[in-house]
């Protein structure tokens, strides 16, 4: 029988009897459940004192690593999902994002 149910999340604990057929993803938008930050070799640093909250960085993030709060202001990076692509660093007009090697 099909294991593909709406909102079903396959995790690293899911057994072969419970996993979805062929790895089909039955829960769209579940990337938030899978931290991918450890892929990163370069890391953006938010320099809050230089940030003008222009929000140019927010729409260019290809993942969900830059989130905007209820007041419409960006908050610090979500490093669980930042892969260090550096697009936000490139787009920032105020040098409010630094870009450094991971682990330094």
């Amino acid at each position: 029988m099909s294991n593909c149910k709406h909102n079903k999340i396959v995790s690293s604990d899911t057994t072969w009897k419970e996993t979805t057929e062929g790895g089909t993803i039955c829960s769209p938008g579940n990337a938030t459940d899978f931290p991918t930050g450890d892929w990163r070799s370069m890391k953006p640093i938010w320099l809050q004192e230089k940030c003008k909250q222009c929000l140019l960085c927010y729409p260019v993030c290809p993942d969900t690593a830059i989130l905007v709060n209820e007041e419409g202001k960006r908050v610090d990076f979500n490093y669980d999902h930042c892969k260090g692509c550096g697009v936000c660093y490139k787009v920032c007009p105020f040098e409010a994002i630094d870009f450094v090697e991971e682990g330094k």
């Binding site: 099909s2 057929e21 993803i25």
Partner: protein, 394 residues
């Protein structure tokens, strides 16, 4: 009422496909399977099916289109041979691992090189570990019947695996035989509608198919796939029994021909089994207790049934129309000897013959030689040569 008709193997299979009326057929011509999409495209052109026929630019694309169509929620079918099957290779594995019940006719032909267009089993035997169910057919009737049953087997909820229906190029595909067709509505009722639990065009329940599946997940999916192949055994049996009720034709995992008290037996796939039945009948007239086993299902491999049917024999010749180039016998031989060992059947003297490669004729005299070798093995109580080549110039 059943319909008597005179059809070639390819016509019979194309007719089965017409009666199945799949949503999508994506195919590329290659000898000797070309006629199947050719006949089928005429059915599309004259409106006797509702199928979307995709004339692709290669077999890789044919199987890819079938994968896409089946994942979208359609019933997809195709046909190919030899190098065409080889060009599908990577997509065969994807179809099976995505649990997509595609049905394909594989018209067996030698896989080049050297370049050859005639029959042997090197094509489908190479694909034996791709995760497809494999059914083998002796004649046109079996090709027609298996094609129809394949749909039900593939789409069963406990299976959801693609099925390859294999029959001999030219010998079966291009020979005319009188066969019995079922009426369109009987076939339609038997196969039913394809209702997948989840599919890409289901707007209410969006899914993603074919994601990256790394170390933490891949193994579980392959284990699940393996279980589907195990489940297929029961389903093949059930579907075949149901088919017998509407057709009167009985199919098991293998056909045991005059095996009740057989002391010597050959195991042969596809059309050569027909020649061997003739030889068995002749030998029986001369008082030799000869029998024949013709496997219908090669994937999943019927270990129990094979061990059970062979266990009372004194000597068995397993005949392979494909070499494994492992210096240890052809694919059917290694499967059977492994199965016999596991089932504790260790007293049957078993030898291997590679035969008929590249369409080399296999006649009555060749098969008689095999049975003659077997009776010699029995009388001498020992095997002189395990690995043999039948019909090659020494």
């Amino acid at each position: 009422m059943a319909i008597r008709d005179r059809l070639s193997g390819n016509e019979a299979v194309a007719t089965a496909m017409k009666q199945i009326n799949p949503d999508v057929v994506a195919a590329f011509p290659i000898t000797p399977s070309t006629e199947i999409p050719q006949y089928f495209s005429t059915f599309v052109a004259n409106g006797s099916v509702n199928t979307e026929f995709v004339a692709v630019e290669s077999e890789h694309s044919a199987m890819s289109a079938c994968v896409g169509a089946q994942a979208a929620g359609a019933r997809a079918m195709t046909a190919t041979s030899a190098n065409g099957l080889a060009l599908m290779w990577e997509v065969l594995y994807i179809a099976a691992s995505l649990k997509l019940p595609i049905v394909m006719a594989c018209v067996n032909r030698a896989l080049s090189g050297p370049i050859n267009i005639h029959n042997d089993h090197t094509d489908s035997m190479g694909a034996r570990d791709s995760g497809w169910i494999q059914l083998y057919c002796e004649d046109n009737q079996e090709a027609y019947d298996n094609m129809i049953m394949a749909v039900r087997i593939a789409e069963h909820k406990n299976v959801m695996l693609p099925v390859m229906v294999c029959f001999d190029g030219f010998i079966t595909s291009h020979s005319l035989e009188n066969i019995e067709l079922m009426e369109d509505d009987v076939v339609k009722k038997f196969i039913g509608e394809y209702k997948p639990d989840h599919y890409l065009l289901d707007r209410e329940n969006p899914i993603s198919v074919g994601p990256l599946d790394l170390q933490g997940y891949f193994f579980e999916h392959k284990r699940q796939q393996a279980e589907s192949m195990r489940n297929a055994k029961k389903v093949i049996q059930e579907v075949s029994e149901e088919f017998a009720q509407i057709s009167g034709r009985h199919y098991g995992f293998l056909e045991a021909y005059r095996m009740e008290d057989a002391e010597v037996a050959a195991v042969i796939l596809n059309s050569t089994a027909g020649t061997a039945k003739f030889v068995v009948d002749k030998l029986r007239e001369n008082g030799i207790k000869a029998g024949l086993v013709k496997p219908r299902v090669f994937r999943p491999f019927p270990v129990d049934e094979m061990a059970n049917v062979l266990k009372s024999c004194k000597a068995v010749a397993v005949m392979d129309k494909a070499d494994s180039f492992n210096a240890a016998g052809g694919p059917l031989f290694t499967e059977i000897t492994s199965g016999l060992h596991v089932k504790g059947v260790n007293n049957v003297m078993t030898v291997n013959y590679i035969y008929g490669l590249g369409g080399r004729d296999v006649n009555v005299g060749d098969i008689e030689k095999v049975y003659n070798d077997l009776t010699n093995i029995v009388s001498q109580g020992k095997i002189e040569s395990v690995y043999n080549y039948l019909g090659v110039r020494e």
